[in-house]
Amino acid sequence: MEFNDNFILGCSAIGAGLAVIAGIGPGVGQGIAAGYGASAVGRNPGAQGKIMSTMLLGQAVAETTGLYGLLVAMLLLFVKPLLMK
């Protein structure tokens, strides 16, 4: 069976959309981190700077998995590895 290019491109677009669902995880994780950060500042307002930098560092690391999903989506959309040339 042979698929034409448009079919493969459409499937790639669906795949890209599914790949970006990976953004849910980091979103939840960053929200939790921010919530705990806020409660930590509430308990100890003097340490706001340190809490802030630790929170941002952790969030940036947690963001990685979501970005991998984005990367896969970008590859599917713009590099089109499934399309035979």
């Binding site: 448009n6 491109l9 560092l57 940036a60 990685t64 970005l67 970008m74």
Partner: protein
């Protein structure tokens, strides 16, 4: 219908790397791309910056002026990154981490000047990750003897049962990949967002994209720079461990005693 229909509605969406000219070397075609040009611009800017900084510190005054104050604060901040994570052992890494920080920061915020950020090219971030990898492994061998490294590589299980060894090696190899992909994907996503805003909303994109630039270029770029340097320092520090002196020095001392 052509397969190009996806971007048919917007011709001016373009965040790809473009070749400027190519030459042949050893039968391979090598392209000079926009990334090279942007890297060159960033590097020249940094060189000018460093030259001015060097002149300021050469004629340093007892009571510092505005520029000297700012530079001293910057150097103290950069030294603080290594000193906080590695303590006394971090002295030798201050120069590398400082230059790394300034380079990545300038690369990331060069999007503000209309350049394509060089760090949105995987060919730029992967070498940075590989340098980190080499530094980690070299310092591990410099500060630990082979038995300690073997024990560390089998770490959750006893050293005579190396079942965990391949998993530890895989997690070591994943370090440069995840480091470089994190920086690359963050800057690329910012670049894509800005390009989409300018490409799709070009009629109403007046003034307000500046706020997006502040987030995607300045904030995200600065955070990712900090994360990259911080993780590099942390990995090197954990590879060195608690040893104060290198293996060679300890062996020489033993011979003398």
């Amino acid at each position: 219908m052509s397969p190009q229909l996806m971007l048919a509605s917007a011709d001016n969406i373009d965040f790809m790397i473009h070749g400027i000219f190519s030459y042949e070397i050893f039968g391979q075609t090598v392209w000079i791309t926009t990334s090279h040009v942007c890297l060159l611009i960033v590097t020249i800017t940094l060189l000018i910056f460093f030259f001015i900084g060097g002149q300021v510190f050469k004629h340093a005054k007892e009571i510092p002026g505005g520029l000297q104050c700012a530079l001293e604060m910057m150097v103290e901040f950069l030294d603080g990154i290594t000193d906080n994570a590695m303590g006394n052992k971090g002295k030798g890494f201050r120069n590398y981490i400082g230059v790394l920080f300034v380079f990545i920061l300038f690369s990331n915020i060069s999007g503000l000047l209309g350049l394509r950020p060089p760090t949105a090219d995987y060919g730029v971030t992967l070498p940075l990750g590989l340098i980190t990898f080499v530094l980690i492994r070299a310092n591990e061998f410099k500060y630990n003897n082979l038995w300690a490294i073997w024990k560390d590589k089998c770490s959750p299980l006893p050293p005579w049962l190396p079942i965990w060894l391949p998993i530890n090696i895989i997690s070591d190899v994943a370090v440069p990949i995840s480091l470089s992909l994190r920086l690359f994907a963050n800057i690329l996503s910012g670049l894509v967002m800005m390009t989409l805003v300018y490409g799709l909303l070009s009629k109403i994109a007046i003034g307000w994209p500046a706020a997006l630039h502040v987030y995607f270029d300045l904030f995200s770029g600065a955070i990712q720079t900090y994360v990259f340097c911080m993780l590099t320092v942390t990995y090197i520090g954990s590879a060195i461990g608690d040893n104060e002196e290198s293996v060679l020095k300890r062996m020489l001392k033993k011979k003398k005693a």
